[in-house]
């Protein structure tokens, strides 16, 4: 039996997906190959720990977004990896572990960590998983590009609001006057500019983006 066929058989054995003849065959293989036995035990152990963390059937809170991110990562991986010459069967088995239920669960565990759903905030209010559970706004990823600035994201059960606290921002000078508007919705213009108006109709300014996407406000 080729190594890839053995691997597939082991995976199906871990999932309890073998017929009696295959069961007999795998037991013989495991008895004679300690390395294969170790691999099978390791897979079984991972399967059990994932099963204890996740219910048998539960979709991630935002399956479409989650699946699109997984799919994007797969495509990127396929594009950047230089694959050695493989037969179609072997190529299929290279990703077959991912398609198996416990493989998806393993990815879900990584995705949960990536999305920060399991992390409660430092002040003890609800985790973002609470937000998802009650159908509230959810923040899945946050990035602060400026050095020294960090973001703490959490869901406040009591306020029923999702919060991002930014730390490390420079204090605005007291000398500046912060002018606020009651701005109305604008439509984008053909030239890429946006004419922002007050709710009363008065033109506030024209918003243009430079070549780097940085906005410039042109006063009337």
């Amino acid at each position: 039996m080729k190594p890839s066929e053995q691997e597939e058989l082991v995976h199906r054995w871990v999932d309890g997906d073998l017929d009696p003849a295959e069961e007999t065959r795998i037991e013989g293989l495991l008895a004679n190959d300690p390395h294969l036995r170790d691999e099978a035990d390791s897979l079984n152990s991972l399967r059990e720990s994932l099963r204890s963390e996740f219910p048998a059937e539960q979709e991630p809170p935002y399956p479409d977004f989650f699946n699109s991110q997984i799919q994007r990562l797969i495509v990127e991986d396929e594009q950047t990896t230089t694959a050695p010459t493989q037969s179609p069967a072997e190529t299929k088995s290279a990703f077959s572990w991912f398609a198996l239920p416990w493989g998806i669960a393993a990815a879900a565990l990584a995705g949960v960590a990536f999305m920060g759903l399991s992390r409660p905030s430092a002040d003890g209010t609800g985790s973002l998983a609470s937000a998802a559970a009650v159908g509230a706004t959810v923040v899945s990823t946050t990035y602060t590009p400026m050095i020294g600035v960090t973001a703490d994201t959490f869901f406040s059960d009591e306020a029923d609001a999702t919060v991002i606290r930014l730390a490390g921002l420079a204090t605005l000078p007291s000398s500046i006057e912060i002018e606020g508007y009651a701005a109305a919705s604008y439509q984008p213009d053909l030239g890429g500019a946006a004419q922002l108006r007050c709710i009363d109709g008065e033109i506030l300014y024209v918003l243009l983006e430079d070549s780097q996407g940085t906005p410039r406000f042109l006063a009337q």
């Binding site: 977004f65 706004t137 930014l166 912060i178 701005a183 919705s185 439509q187 004419q195 918003l207």
Partner: protein
């Protein structure tokens, strides 16, 4: 010199005439953005107070109550500026209650179960200080605590109204 002085008026003229002809761009939702100034009650910040125009007074009061729960009830939350903006399907949208702190929004489409998926970039003048992917649910606000200013600090509120 004469030519330069004509540029802006010409720009507005062109924008005005173009606006009359261009089709309405489709949106996935309408988003309300408010910039609030959180400051202690002893500080006179009346000049930073605006009457809400994009949401009703009751809704603003509810937001202010929630802000107090999160950021402290020893402060008053003054509405500095607001902007109600359609979230374009194809293009990025700007949510600008003030030029000092504003958002760039990029719709990722409707969310299952209601609401909208989007990417938000928080800008402070010419710098991006935060980027985030989020799913806004109707009636469920997102509070972003911003920089300190004078005796308090700025808070940006993003809300997908329940009827939006």
């Amino acid at each position: 010199m004469v030519a330069r002085s004509l540029i802006l008026p010409l720009l507005f003229l062109l924008l005005g005439s173009a606006k009359a002809q261009e089709p309405v761009v489709e949106t996935d939702a309408e988003i309300w953005g408010g910039l609030l100034y959180a400051v202690g009650p002893d500080t006179d910040a009346a000049d930073q107070d605006s009457e809400p125009r994009g949401i009703d007074v009751t809704a603003l009061a509810d937001l202010q109550k929630r802000l107090a729960i999160v950021f402290g009830d020893d402060k008053t939350y003054h509405l500095v500026g607001e902007h109600t903006q359609g979230l374009f399907k194809q293009y990025e949208s700007w949510l600008v209650p003030s030029k000092e702190l504003f958002l760039k929004l990029d719709s990722k489409g409707p969310a299952d179960g209601g609401g909208v998926n989007l990417n938000l970039q928080l800008w402070q003048e010419k710098k991006v200080i935060m980027k985030t992917d989020a799913t806004l649910r109707p009636g469920s606000p997102l509070f972003i605590e911003g920089p300190k200013w004078r005796d308090g600090n700025l808070v940006f509120v993003v809300l997908l109204p329940k009827n939006g």
